[in-house]
Symmetry: C2
Amino acid sequence: MKERENLWLRPEQPARGPRPRFGRAEMTRAAIAIADAEGLAALSMRRLAADLDAGPMSPYSYITGKDELIELMVDAVTAEFLRPDGAACGDWRTELRDLARRMRSAMHRHPWMAEIGLRRQAASPNRIRLFEQVLGVLDALELSMDAMLTTMIMIFVHVYGFVQIELADQEAQRHTGLELSAWMRRQLPYIESVVSAGDHPMFARMTAEAGRTLTGFDERWEYGLERLLDSIQGSAGGRRAAGETRPPV
Amino acid sequence: MKERENLWLRPEQPARGPRPRFGRAEMTRAAIAIADAEGLAALSMRRLAADLDAGPMSPYSYITGKDELIELMVDAVTAEFLRPDGAACGDWRTELRDLARRMRSAMHRHPWMAEIGLRRQAASPNRIRLFEQVLGVLDALELSMDAMLTTMIMIFVHVYGFVQIELADQEAQRHTGLELSAWMRRQLPYIESVVSAGDHPMFARMTAEAGRTLTGFDERWEYGLERLLDSIQGSAGGRRAAGETRPPV
DNA sequence: GTTAACTTGATACAGCGTATCGAGTTTTCC
DNA sequence: GGAAAACTCGATACGCTGTATCAAGTTAAC
């Protein structure tokens, strides 16, 4: 375990030299606190150092650069994606639904995580644990390894994408300084001009319903999640013919 | 049309003053050329101005800032997502499959588009045209407007996410300067240590198969796309019971 | 006790987005 | 026709970024 972490990144504790004033864990915690509170854009190496009461270049004693800092942050939040120990229930559909909800709520706590998205693919301890858990759940579906991996990708893509869209507005708002409604109102005249031109009937129907009947994002999220789980169910047992259900486990 | 574009952004042609040396379209084209060739990180306002043989602040005469530049770029590439005029075939499944493939190949030509991802949600002419086309196709499925919108989100999320993962490696490679294999080899010792520790059996199975039997990304993409289309098919007609097919259109 | 390994902080460099301002150019209005 | 408004354009500058470099101080090992 210790040895493994040392293989992931270079060893933390030095052989000689003065005792470090803090550790990688504290640095990661401080960085996450900044990004949670003020967004990823507010996180800079100087700012992190200042929050730790250290000189501007101090963080570089612990990590090689900002990329590694973000790798540490991502790994830390990935831990919040994991199923708590001993909480396995045996039903793959429930397991995957709970996983997706855990991921979403973790990204609500750490919006920058959704912002980073699927771009960081580096192996890290908690990422590997997450893979292990997801593959362990998918194992009940009698898929080929290829299908299992693609299914896992589909789950991650779905969750990250939905949360990105959910959080896009409030991130844009933070970035531009406009309030949410002001940002939307900025494009309203253009949208209305398109609608009234009459050559986009479906789009017009959408905006017409947007004002009254459309549900909130929570309902959309749950609906989309069940559709995703349906598609996984449909691919179980190696068969992929549409409309074919899988025999009970 | 002209009027509509003027509502989207402020008018392009000034009433008085010297003739602009170039237009917004040329600026957008130059910016896309930079991002295509050298990545989004290489695109700066100064660099763009230099490529246009203009002073550093010249681009600001045409657009309000970098955000608007990227909005223009995104809208331009979104045009490549659109179905060519008169190419509608009537079968929703074929339409959606073709749309997904068009999007993927456009993002292969413009990898920065995948990088920007789902974060930019602003309405723009081609984005509205894209909505119109997708909703027009989904209309055949007899869904509620809510379900249609969520389905559309699912499609975009799926395509963007898959392409992001596909391109993540080569983007990381461009960013760090390492070759692809070197980047992967960097984490290989750690992965091997995890596997040989024995407490991640599923992950070990995955890496074992990765060397021999696993297919390339093209096959994964096609498999995932058909699963997505299955799940849309399953939700048709307002019914959502798993395994229920829709009567032929 | 010496030396090697390390932390720390200052300084510096090249780059970024863009605010500001002055000068030049073209159109509109009186 | 002349004045003024509206615009382009370029230079300069500010505050910010990641981080390379280097000197000084601290600690453990030999």
